[in-house]
């Protein structure tokens, strides 16, 4: 009877699986990995704010790519007359009918400076519409500095939104000091501000993974040196030094070059956190059984890293990157705000905010602060997303 119990139970447990035990474990592992991603997705889905933020970020990037279509005006367009026009909010209904319009503008002259002071004219009405004709523009990937890919565009003159009569002013968020449309510039600057983040993250990812990986993989004196380096970089107050480097960028450099140097400066300060994450993961993974097992199998180092180590911390990397992105965006904004980052004619949120450095300006034309709202919203969204990802990646 003793024997029967054991045998019976054993039969039961083995009959359900396949008969080769090795294949079974291999399959189990794959299953486990699949369900791990699935589990993460389930967990992430429950994080409402993170889901919502994902939507917001998609919108941001979509707008960034097709900025020309979303902006009623082109980037350089301005009407010198309409200086500091206040925002003309959209009214959707007229006499109870759906008929969107904005109110017109009127001005009076400042008795001393003779400058025009614009106010909303409550009586006049400017009809607006969707997909209206405006100035012609290219839409697509023409702005990417990559050959061939930047041929992917077509030309059109339809804008998402605009005044039906293109000679009429429509400043949804007001105008700046030279009569440019804040809303259009905000849309365009999304492209630069967000891409600085992406390029910066790509750079610091490369730095972080290679240095952190070296550190965690080899340990010993290499680890020691890299750790000291990270400590030094982290304890140096970065802003003054970033400012110093940025201030040394010659004034006559072309936009693209300034863009890249600024991105590099920003990336140089944020790889350390990532390097630490990577190192920590490598260290803990080095102890892991399955790595040990595959090392005993004689798997090559490279295969080992990419087959086993990297997948198990993709999630962490992604979460750290999502949390690093807003820092980059903020850094660029701060630099440009101080006038040491990107310079006009490049337009980013920081560049736009340069105008708000004087309190008198903000007090009179508070709509110049709209870019700040854009920054805060995107940074919040990234933080929520990163938080959701981290929660999902961490089972505890």
């Amino acid at each position: 009877m003793d024997v029967t119990l054991k045998e019976q139970v054993f039969e039961q447990s083995s009959s359900s699986g396949s008969n080769a035990p090795v294949a079974e474990t291999e399959e189990e592992r794959r299953l486990e990995v699949a369900t791990q991603w699935q589990l993460m997705w389930w967990k992430f889905r429950k994080h409402r704010l993170a889901m919502f933020s994902t939507g917001i970020l998609f919108t941001y990037y979509f707008v960034a790519i097709f900025a020309e279509f979303f902006a009623p005006w082109t980037r350089t367009q301005y009407i010198a007359e309409y200086v500091y026009v206040p925002p003309q909010p959209i009214h959707f209904f007229d006499d109870g009918k759906f008929d969107p319009y904005v109110k017109g503008l009127t001005f009076e002259r400042d008795p001393r400076s003779f400058k025009k002071i614009w106010t909303i004219d409550q009586k006049s009405k400017i009809e607006i519409g969707l997909f209206v004709k405006g100035s012609e523009y290219k839409i697509g990937l023409h702005w990417l500095p990559i050959p061939y890919i930047n041929n992917l565009f077509f030309t059109t003159d339809r804008h998402l939104i605009g005044a039906k009569d293109p000679t009429q002013p429509m400043y949804l968020m007001g105008a700046d000091k030279s009569g440019r449309d804040i809303f259009s510039r905000l849309v365009y600057s999304t492209r630069i501000s967000l891409s600085v983040g992406l390029v910066g993250v790509a750079l610091s990812l490369t730095l972080g993974i290679s240095l952190g990986g070296l550190s965690g993989l080899f340990g010993g004196w290499i680890d020691n040196i890299i750790q000291r380096l990270i400590e030094v970089v982290m304890s140096v107050p970065d802003l003054p030094i970033m400012l110093a480097i940025a201030a040394a960028v010659p004034l006559d450099w072309p936009i693209e070059r300034v863009y890249f140097i600024i991105t590099i400066i920003i990336a140089l300060r944020s790889w350390t956190g990532l390097a630490r994450v990577v190192r920590g993961k490598f260290l803990s993974l080095r102890e892991d059984d399955f790595i040990l097992a595959s090392r005993l199998d004689g798997a090559s180092q490279g295969r080992l890293i990419f087959r086993h180590m990297l997948p198990s911390f993709y999630s962490h990397i992604i979460a750290s990157l999502t949390l690093a992105l807003p820092h980059m965006i903020l850094a660029e904004t701060a630099l440009s705000f101080l006038g040491l980052g990107l310079r006009p004619p490049a337009v980013s949120w920081g560049v736009m905010l340069q105008d708000t450095q004087k309190v008198a300006v903000i007090a009179l034309y508070p709509w110049l602060l709209w870019p700040a709202a854009a920054v805060i919203l995107v940074v919040l969204a990234f933080n929520f997303l990163g938080d959701g990802l981290r929660d999902a990646a961490d089972p505890y």
Partner: protein
């Protein structure tokens, strides 16, 4: 313990040295020859009666016609031995005087910001962890997110707008009128403290939000540790237990975060001071960078950075004092 302190001290000196290298590089950054720049600037600004060997004097003092290493050595020697940071052609005096004038305010702001951050983050972080998933916890978490997302200079801009619109403007300055130009005294300092509130809140908010999150996460970790069960099984009351065990353990990482708070505080102080036009070292660095008054910029950066590193060192000492594991190993 002594070994630990010695090691930390070595790191500190090493870091300061690296910083001095970076700052020296900063001086070299602007294109063109420094002396020529100075001389032409001086002539431009109406100082035509320069002594004929003025150029030569400066070149010798800083070793400008010698190799880089010698220049670096002379620059550092001038700072350490003579306390001279180099000549500012904008202010027409040694950079030291300009920096020393502004530094106390910077320190006061940063110091008070650290105190503010701790005083606010500690209790809120603890509360938020103990009442995990309560309404208050969600609220704190949400506000914390916003605090983290709003960079200090934007916060300053918005506050400035509101203060301009709805209050009198006085809240933005750092001194009452009678102390603005007065030399340092106890009364001037007290006057400063009175005006520090707004800048400290602006600069401290992001750090506070970050630290609340750290504290909450640490404490949540600690609350599930077996030693808490042990303490509970002894018959300690929940409150006594909380403060004595998990909070005490969660405090360690809390203190070591000073290391990252300080640099970001300095950055925040710098940019906020530029926005609010506060008489701290921030605008000095900023303006000297814009005008390429490099010795002032370098001096200020060197001192600020060194102070950060020393602050981190102090937090290491604090950690050793608090944590027997560090102390006794």
């Amino acid at each position: 313990m002594w070994q630990y302190i010695a090691r930390r001290f070595t790191y500190m000196v090493f870091t300061v040295w690296i910083i001095s290298l970076i700052t020296f590089a900063v001086i070299q950054l602007p294109p063109g020859d420094y002396v020529t720049t100075i001389v032409s600037q001086m002539i431009n600004s109406g100082m035509e009666d320069l002594p004929p060997d003025f150029e030569q004097q400066i070149r010798e003092q800083y070793g400008l016609d010698q190799p880089m290493v010698v220049q670096y050595y002379k620059w550092l020697r001038n700072i350490i031995v003579d306390g001279k940071f180099g000549y500012s052609f904008v202010y027409r005096k040694d950079a030291k005087d300009i920096i020393l004038e502004r530094l106390p305010v910077s320190f006061a702001i940063s110091g008070f910001s650290v105190l503010f951050i701790w005083a606010v983050a500690l209790p809120i972080g603890i509360y938020s962890a103990v009442k995990q998933y309560s309404l208050a916890d969600y609220l704190v978490t949400f506000i914390g997110f916003i605090g983290l997302a709003v960079p200090s200079f934007l916060f300053a801009l918005v506050l400035m707008f509101f203060s301009y619109k709805y209050m009198d403007r006085a809240m933005i300055g750092l001194f009452s009128r009678e102390y603005e130009t007065a030399p340092w005294s106890l009364n001037k300092f007290l006057d400063l403290v009175k005006h520090l509130g707004i800048p400290v809140i602006i600069i401290g908010t992001a750090g506070t939000a970050g630290l609340i999150r750290t504290m909450r996460a640490n404490l949540l970790d600690e609350l599930n540790k077996p030693y808490v069960d042990t303490a509970r099984s002894k018959g300690l009351s929940e409150r006594a237990l909380l403060w004595k065990y998990p909070v005490r353990h969660a405090l360690n990482p809390f203190i070591s975060t000073v290391g990252w708070i300080l640099p970001s505080l300095i950055a925040g102080e710098l940019i906020v001071s530029v926005v609010l036009n506060l008489p701290t070292s921030g605008p000095v660095i900023y303006n000297s960078l814009l005008t390429q008054d490099m010795y002032v910029a370098a001096g200020a950066i060197l001192i600020l950075s060194s102070m950060t590193v020393i602050g981190t060192f102090i937090s290491d000492l604090l950690l050793a004092w608090l944590d027997p594991r560090v102390r006794l190993h």
